[in-house]
């Protein structure tokens, strides 16, 4: 990665020189990038600043960038008074996120391996049909999906929130691509040694595909953590309510002051921020390899 970036920088390097035009171009470049960066970051700082303001400082004109008497801890307590189950929602979101990500990794790895390395009747038809589902926007099948989940008795259950998220045509496609990059000779020699396909997948194919799996996993985690419409429709009762709905409920009650809503949003955002800081390169790789998210 570092080497790749190095060569990219070299590739696009301007010819050396310190003439006035060059310096001016540099200054303009930085100015634009910095203004843009401020616009990107300002909503986050506004969220944090509002989250720590006392009620009296919310609706005042002119606005205050920084609270005069910040009360972050008081507002956290006030948030939990207003929304006593907020921690529960966070835990629910974590359960759904972990369940979907692990489930998808297992189910889609198996399927991708099957399509990548095995000949069986109907293979190309099944694969084409699976990929064909990619053109269907999820929103367009929301109604029948709800009907299916209701008729399976999965409304307001973790199973209902997790199950539909673990089957993925998109993951199947990506992981199959990754598995096809691995030299088949490695797998064949293991087969001669008497390993069965599951052992080969576990001990050879998956370890060699870790970068692709990781890039794919962080995208899935991000999408599951932030999901809103689907949980809103199939599991909007307190025991299985996820945190995005918890925030929407705060927002929908007109008497909830904005500092508490901002505090809730901030708390819900922190886990993704930490994950992003730790695994940034996988996020970026995930996006640039895939160009899609769902």
């Amino acid at each position: 990665m570092a080497i790749a970036q190095q060569s990219i920088a070299e590739r696009t390097a301007e010819p050396p020189g310190f003439d006035a035009a060059h310096v001016a171009l540099r200054v303009v470049t930085y100015a634009i990038l910095i203004i843009g960066a401020v616009v990107m970051v300002l909503p986050f700082t506004w969220m944090i600043s509002t989250a720590c303001k006392p009620n009296a400082e919310l609706a005042i004109s002119p606005i205050r960038f920084f609270p005069e008497s910040p009360q972050c801890v008081t507002n956290v307590q006030a948030l939990y008074e207003q929304s006593p189950d907020f921690n529960r929602y966070l835990v629910n979101t974590a359960i759904v996120t972990i369940g979907r990500t692990l489930g998808q990794l297992v189910i889609c790895s198996l399927a991708a391996y099957g399509f990548a390395r095995f000949q069986f009747p109907g293979r190309s038809v099944l694969f084409a049909l699976s990929l064909g589902l990619l053109i269907v926007p999820f929103q367009a099948i929301l109604i029948p999906n709800f009907v299916v989940i209701s008729s399976l008795g999965l409304r307001n259950s973790f199973a209902g929130l997790i199950l539909p998220g673990i089957f993925s045509a998109f993951a199947l496609f990506l992981l199959r691509q990754a598995f096809l990059q691995i030299p088949i000779e490695l797998e064949e020699s293991a087969e001669i040694d008497g390993a069965n396909p599951l052992q080969i997948l576990w001990s050879i194919t998956l370890p060699l595909s870790v970068p692709a799996l990781a890039a794919f996993a962080v995208i899935t985690v991000q999408a599951a953590w932030n999901d809103f419409l689907f949980p809103l429709v199939v599991a909007n009762s307190p025991p299985t309510r996820v945190v995005t709905i918890g925030i929407a409920l705060l927002q929908g009650q007109r008497d909830t002051p904005y500092n508490l809503i901002m505090m809730g949003s901030f708390i819900a955002t922190v886990p993704m921020l930490i994950l992003f800081v730790l695994l940034q390169r996988y996020f970026i790789e995930g996006v640039s390899q895939t160009g899609l998210r769902r």
Partner: protein, 307 residues
């Protein structure tokens, strides 16, 4: 038994492997069938019924479509709003993302830091982002007031303005995503082309217009399709930003097709009518994608074709 297994392969090993293959793909295929395949077919079926989810469905032929096209003005308003939102979001977002990507595709101090900052909104939930931007667009007390003249406007309640805040959140959340795609595309532009052009005395602008843009066109095409599809799927922003005032905007001014089908299905329990709207949404997205794929031959340059 052997006779039954014959179609699976000629040798015992081939048959064994065929069974393994089937077993491996079975769970995902079944899941896709239950949660995607069957629902697609059900959308067609349900759109021909009147059904509130409790009493048995009643066949009503094409009445849902008649209502949608001829009786319900909200459908055309929602379609218009969706297209207007696309008009706000897609060009602005693509131009900004490309601009940032081009600037970042140089040897720059702090290049990775900029990339991180521009990407941050992508990992934030649309719900949290929309909540923050609702507060930013608040009349009198919103951060938007630091721009002279913008602070006193009723951004979220005026029908002629409400799509603007929604477009702004959508763009803010998407720039980083498209920037990464453009950066990946820019890195595939062969260096030798730029060198040759430099030798021929081409300036920056000429190289950008004659080399970078044409060589980038496959990426631009991908980003365009993803952007249009994303706009048709916008929901969270509308739900959050209009929930304190009038859900879907005053007079449906912020209602898009996706929001309309949500309200029909899950607020009013009109599952048949909501399915008809779903079908319209699906077919419109499909049609736009097909048209774009057709048109791409006129402007997208694929290196391998040129040989």
């Amino acid at each position: 038994m052997t006779l039954f297994l014959r179609p699976l392969g000629a040798t015992p090993r081939a048959r064994r492997r065929a069974l393994w293959g089937l077993a491996l793909v079975l769970p995902n295929t079944l899941g896709l069938l239950i949660f995607f395949g069957i629902p697609v077919l059900m959308t067609f079926g349900l759109s021909l019924f009147e059904w509130n989810g409790i009493r048995p469905p009643v066949w009503n032929g094409l009445q849902n479509f008649e209502r949608m096209f001829f009786e319900d003005p909200l459908f055309w308003r929602a379609l218009g709003n969706t297209l207007r939102l696309a008009l706000f979001v897609v060009p602005a977002n693509m131009a900004l993302a490309l601009g940032v990507a081009v600037l970042l595709n140089q040897r720059l101090r702090g290049r990775n830091l900029f990339r991180t900052v521009y990407f941050l909104p992508v990992i934030t939930s649309t719900v949290a982002a929309s909540v923050v931007w609702t507060w930013i667009f608040q009349p009198s007390y919103g951060l938007i007031g630091i721009v002279p003249g913008l602070g006193e406007m009723q951004w979220l309640t005026r029908p002629d303005l409400v799509l603007i805040p929604i477009a702004v959140v959508t763009i803010w959340q998407r720039i980083g995503f498209d920037m990464i795609l453009f950066l990946a595309g820019l890195q595939n532009v062969p260096r030798i082309l730029h060198e040759a052009a430099l030798i021929d005395g081409a300036n920056n602008r000429q190289r950008f217009l004659r080399i970078t843009l044409p060589m980038l066109s496959p990426t631009t095409f991908l980003v365009l399709i993803l952007n249009v599809i994303a706009v048709f799927q916008v929901f969270d922003q509308i739900y959050i930003m209009t929930s304190r005032t009038t859900p879907g905007g005053v007079g449906g001014s912020a209602t898009t097709l996706t929001f309309m089908l949500y309200q029909a299905g899950f607020v009013r329990s009109e599952f048949g009518y909501a399915s008809a709207i779903s079908l319209a949404l699906f077919l419109i997205v499909l049609a736009i994608t097909v048209v774009q794929i057709r048109l791409q031959r006129r402007w997208v340059y694929y290196e391998s074709e040129a040989g």
